[in-house]
Subunit: 318 residues, 2 copies
């Protein structure tokens, strides 16, 4: 029975990974300190014999007794990191530690177990990209001393950490660069555009578009992302791989899609000044490499369908 250890296992993406690996017949250990992850995200898995939830801050080393309890680990997935811009202001040091200290701690588990290691990187490592769409060999445009640097630079650092462990100790590392993702178990209050617009539309409040609304994002439904991550994990690919949906929308277009998906809403679009001047103006993955190395993987879920399933979830959280 393959044993998968997932940090951030009670988070938005981590909890979906737990679920899918359990369905595949794996033993799953989820680790979370519940800073942004929530026990309710994995509450439905608690009865499963192959599932274990451990409350632990991975910025702190694993104790020998914890490692003993883990037993043999075949796959280590480091997905523990607050990822929303409101977290960047609220808990920047926690973000920097979980993807520096925490990355080293999880890499050590992978090294000791000769396990496959996969780290959740992000499209944010491209910063405000000067190459569009973004290919994996683009080195990015990130401000080291800006409002987003606690997150962007830490994710870049974590990629460099994985690279050191691969070059120096032969750890079989994978790097997934996750583009904007949405779906059930996102936090309604996490400040990102999908929960923002959905919450506003469901509550009949004004939909706030920042700037002119011409900045673009590409939204991937979580099921598509998780399928891509699992294929990457199963592969021996060591190069970074973009996983995301290349369908690009301006924020204004997206606001209109959300309004349409909530029939009868009283919401109207309002414009506000841009919050962060380092906000990327456009973001769209080139998924040529993913298609190639992940057996033809590509997103399957349309925005309309994914948004419907996400709104269903958000309705229960209002």
């Amino acid at each position: 029975m393959k044993h998968v250890l997932i940090t951030g296992g009670a988070g938005f993406i981590g909890s979906h990974l737990c679920e899918r690996y359990l369905e595949q017949g794996c033993r799953v250990t989820a680790i979370d300190n519940f800073v942004t992850g929530r026990p309710e995200n994995v509450a439905h898995l608690k009865g499963e014999k192959a599932f274990r939830l451990v409350e632990h801050d991975v910025s702190t080393p694993f104790t020998p007794s914890m490692e003993k309890e883990f037993g043999k680990v075949d796959v280590v997935m480091h997905f523990a990191c607050p990822a929303s811009p409101i977290d960047f202001e609220r808990i920047p040091l926690e973000i920097m530690k979980v993807d520096s200290y925490g990355t080293f701690h999880t890499l050590e588990v992978a090294r000791a177990n000769k396990a496959r290691f996969v780290i959740a990187s992000t499209s944010e490592i491209y910063g405000d990209p000067l190459v569009h769409p973004q290919t994996e060999d683009y080195w990015g445009n990130v401000n080291t001393t800006g409002k987003r640097s606690c997150y962007d630079e830490t994710k870049r650092f974590s990629e460099a950490s994985a690279t050191v462990y691969r070059n120096k100790w032969g750890v079989n590392t994978g790097i997934v660069r996750i583009f904007n993702t949405y779906g059930p178990r996102m936090r309604l209050d996490d400040g990102r555009v999908v929960p923002n617009f959905c919450g506003q539309a469901l509550r009949g409040q004004p939909i706030t578009v920042y700037g002119t609304g011409q900045q673009t994002r590409s939204f991937c439904f979580v099921d598509d992302l998780v399928e891509g991550i699992m294929r990457l994990t199963a592969s021996d690919c060591n190069d970074p791989v973009n996983i995301g949906n290349p369908d690009e929308y301006t924020m204004l277009e997206f606001a209109k899609v959300v309004l349409k998906a909530v029939p009868g809403t009283k919401s109207e679009i309002v414009y506000k000044p841009l919050l962060h001047h380092d906000d990327p103006k456009q973001r769209k993955p080139d998924i040529t490499r993913a298609r190639k190395v992940l057996n033809g993987w590509e997103p399957k879920v349309s925005l309309a369908e994914g948004l419907g399933r996400t709104l269903e979830y958000f309705r229960t959280k209002l």
Copy 2:
């Protein structure tokens, strides 16, 4: 009596800082774990009452008894980091830890003491720059998963760490982006071009130019650098500041200057293939900001003079 705490105090640059602050009448605590720093660099300071040398790895937290012994600290300078490409292959994890863990530990000392904090950043954060010469508002071109990323990304991370402590806790942080520097107390075997060429010329061995020798560097004599750093430390400037010498030489030109500085050497120039494909092709600081915020600071020592003083030092180390 102002108390200056300098990590990497027995290193190339750190030891010069110790010397100069002692000359200014400060109390100086130098911290070093002697991974690349050397006790002999500060041996001549050991008799001074205001000087203290502490053997400690700053990747490890300071103990309460250490902090008690430090007493009140007015300035914290984090200059502990192996900085040569041979170190990038030899001790990449030590590099990554000293400028992540070590940066947090030293920032905490600054925070607790309400001290001025200055971190040694580097022109390497610009990577293989697409903007030339490099101004501080250029965000760089660094490969997150390359041979140099353990150093480049860690220095970027350390700038982001300083930014978080400034924004979140009001620590008075300074960031000095150090361009290629040379002078006495460089390690003759550190693999960088100045000691390489000087050692080869002094030994009458072939001078190895990599690639076509058309890649450029700008060399600053250590006395000029240290003067700039001390002015930055004395200021309240929080923005990154380039300190370096804008006089740009191709590696081939530089090889010829070195040959000329060692009369009678039997060395001849030989060409070898480029070692690292991420090696920056050109590097030259724009020092407009330094001139402005550091009271007209600019390099004073010519390459011929600086090289003479450096060769004098290297002769004693052959």
